[in-house]
């Protein structure tokens, strides 16, 4: 006799719950507005080459410092390059460095936080946390600046420099969450069936602590955008002629009297991108963890 197969269709109660969560998501204005901004910034970054009206790096000496017009919506820079095209490529630079830095921060921070919270011993918690304390004593930007100075300028090194700055935050968040999860019954159950420590950490605890981690990742993206712009402004980010919002602001400083728009537009782009990630992070936190919000 064939066994009855359990239905994989969601029950009506699950459907109602999903529907109400979806409606709660749409009602969350911060999440929706932030999500739209983040999506637009990411799309611009991905398709920058396709949507750019001009080549962002080719100088046009007949068009130097032309203000916004029908042919150049955001004007041209000191080398006659189209400012809009450079803003688009700047979005790509900003997103690439911020996401790369995020990955560096996660790869180092999450395992350290897991081990530190799980074992709570001398070497695997006390020592790790004192190193994290010491790292947090360095101002984020100064740490990134000094790391970039030692490693040398460039996109990859900017990612590493900013990513190292993220590590303390991720370690602390993961460790705090692990300490809370360790008390729960599913961890004891996993231990009883003989699961290894590594399996408990990766397969059981980690999936349960993703909510605060995702929220923190969004907020870290916002600070990554500012950090990348700051490093590039100081000449320690991407190398010319690749456009970055930070280098564009740096270049604009020499032409403040003649071409104010050059100083305004990249700053607005940074502001919009950071605002988007901040709103998205706040909205995500409210949506994923409504108890905390209430």
């Amino acid at each position: 006799m064939a066994l009855a197969q359990p239905s994989l269709e969601p029950t009506s109660a699950v459907r109602v719950r999903r529907h109400s969560r979806f409606r709660a998501m749409l009602r969350n204005r911060q999440l929706v507005i932030g999500g739209i901004i983040v999506a637009v910034v990411l799309l611009v970054a991905i398709f920058a080459n396709l949507i750019s009206p001009y080549d962002p790096n080719t100088p046009a000496y007949s068009d130097i410092l032309k203000g916004p017009s029908a042919s150049h919506w955001f004007g041209t820079d000191q080398l006659g390059r189209d400012e809009l095209a450079r803003i688009f490529i700047g979005a790509r630079t900003s997103m690439t460095v911020s996401i790369g830095a995020l990955i560096v921060g996660l790869i180092i921070g999450v395992p350290l936080g897991l081990v530190s919270g799980f074992y709570r011993g001398f070497w695997d918690d006390w020592i790790i946390m004192r190193i994290i304390d010491a790292m947090q004593a360095f101002p984020f930007l100064i740490l990134a600046l000094v790391m970039a100075a030692m490693l040398g300028p460039g996109e990859r090194n900017a990612m590493i420099a900013i990513g190292i700055g993220y590590v303390p935050v991720f370690v602390r968040i993961v460790r705090g969450q692990v300490l809370g999860e360790l008390e729960k019954e599913f961890v004891s159950a996993a231990r009883m069936v003989g699961a290894s420590d590594a399996r408990i950490m990766w397969r059981h605890i980690l999936p349960n602590i993703t909510t605060p981690l995702i929220v923190q990742m969004t907020i870290a993206m916002a600070s990554g955008i500012i950090a990348e712009a700051s490093l590039s402004y100081l000449g320690l980010g991407v190398s010319p002629p690749t456009a970055s919002w930070g280098t564009m602001l740096h270049d604009a400083q020499g032409y403040l009297g003649q071409a104010t728009y050059l100083a305004v537009i990249p700053g607005v782009a940074i502001g919009i991108a950071v605002l988007g990630f901040n709103l998205f992070g706040d909205g995500l936190q409210q949506w994923l963890d409504p108890r905390k919000h209430n």
Binding site: D133, P139, L141, I142, A149, I226, V274
Partner: protein
């Protein structure tokens, strides 16, 4: 006193790790640091001399203990640019940054306090929306961009403030303020945005508590309750946040000093980064981190003093 002692003891391992990190910085340089500093054309004699000056001839543990020994004697090494003691260079530059930081904090408090209190008291009304708008903008834009815009509007176009020409505060207060005002406001806006949000939410929490209701039931009205009762209690988390902001503030000041060409600690760090003056970079990183550790310690102690509950709890623990 026991609490202060315990807090000081917890600093020791942090300072040890911090020193190891700063010491290790020079070993992050890919390849031979001496070769990187002097370039490919350097003679073997020059390379050997620089390695000796940087102490790179010994084993790494010996280098570390030598470096620490010099630190305990107040010797941060010599600049590779002009052979000046780094401690002297930092001593010359630090007052500018301290003045900038103090001014920034004052500006931040002047913006955050009235707006934060008004936002909490008039929750959901125009004052609240204004405060939210200011803080959202302050948190979204980089402070150095605000500085650039100030330069455009107030220096290049309106000629109200000079673009450079720093004068020490005790030499000419008026001229000093005219140069320092814009950088202080530019950085202060971002710090205000964080403090404002914290003060608003903290005050809203406190205004909901029983003792505020009791004060109102006893007949206290309007601002008396807010200033006399609620604000004092709402300040405790704000002090903590303010303390934690110091690290971020120091980082922000580095770029502010660059934009406004101020001869401070941040511009010394950036200049030494450009010129690969690694002993100065190392010393600046160490001093910045030590400043943050000391400020955090002071905030923790003030925190303990302002809130009797914390003092009692820690005393019992």
């Amino acid at each position: 006193m026991a609490y202060v002692g315990k807090r000081l003891l917890t600093m020791i391992p942090v300072l040890i790790f911090l020193s190891i990190m700063v010491f290790s910085l020079i070993h992050l340089i890919p390849g031979d640091p001496a070769q990187v500093i002097l370039g490919q054309d350097a003679t073997p004699q020059a390379l050997a001399a620089l390695r000796a000056q940087l102490g790179l001839n010994h084993s790494v543990p010996v280098q570390y203990f030598d470096w620490m020994g010099r630190l305990f004697h107040g010797n941060l090494g010599n600049s590779l640019l002009d052979n000046e003691p780094v401690s002297k260079l930092i001593g010359q530059r630090l007052p500018v940054t301290v003045e900038l930081a103090v001014g920034t904090v004052i500006v931040a408090l002047l913006i955050a306090f009235p707006l934060g209190v008004l936002a909490a008291v008039y929750r959901g009304r125009w004052a609240d929306f204004t405060a939210l708008f200011v803080s959202t903008i302050g948190l979204s834009v980089p402070p150095f961009w605000i500085g650039l815009l100030f330069l455009v509007w107030f220096t290049v176009k309106a000629h109200i403030f000079p673009s450079s020409g720093y004068v020490p505060i005790f030499q000419n207060f008026g001229q000093n303020l005219s140069v320092m005002f814009l950088p202080m406001v530019a950085t202060g806006i971002r710090e205000a945005a964080v403090l404002l949000r914290m003060l608003r939410s903290s005050l809203l929490d406190v205004l909901d508590q029983d003792f505020v209701r009791t004060a109102r039931a006893k007949g206290l009205r309007g601002w008396g309750v807010i200033v006399g009762h609620a604000l004092r209690n709402a300040l405790i988390p704000v002090i903590t946040t303010g303390g934690l902001q110091i690290a971020g503030l120091l980082g922000g000041l580095v770029i502010t000093e660059q934009i406004f060409t101020l001869p401070g600690f941040g511009s010394l760090l950036v200049q030494s980064v450009y010129s690969r003056d690694y002993p100065t970079v190392q010393a600046c990183a160490l001093i910045a981190a030590l400043l943050v550790v000391v400020v955090n310690l002071l905030v923790d102690l003030v925190y303990g003093l302002t809130d009797p509950r914390i003092r009692v709890q820690r005393g019992r623990a």
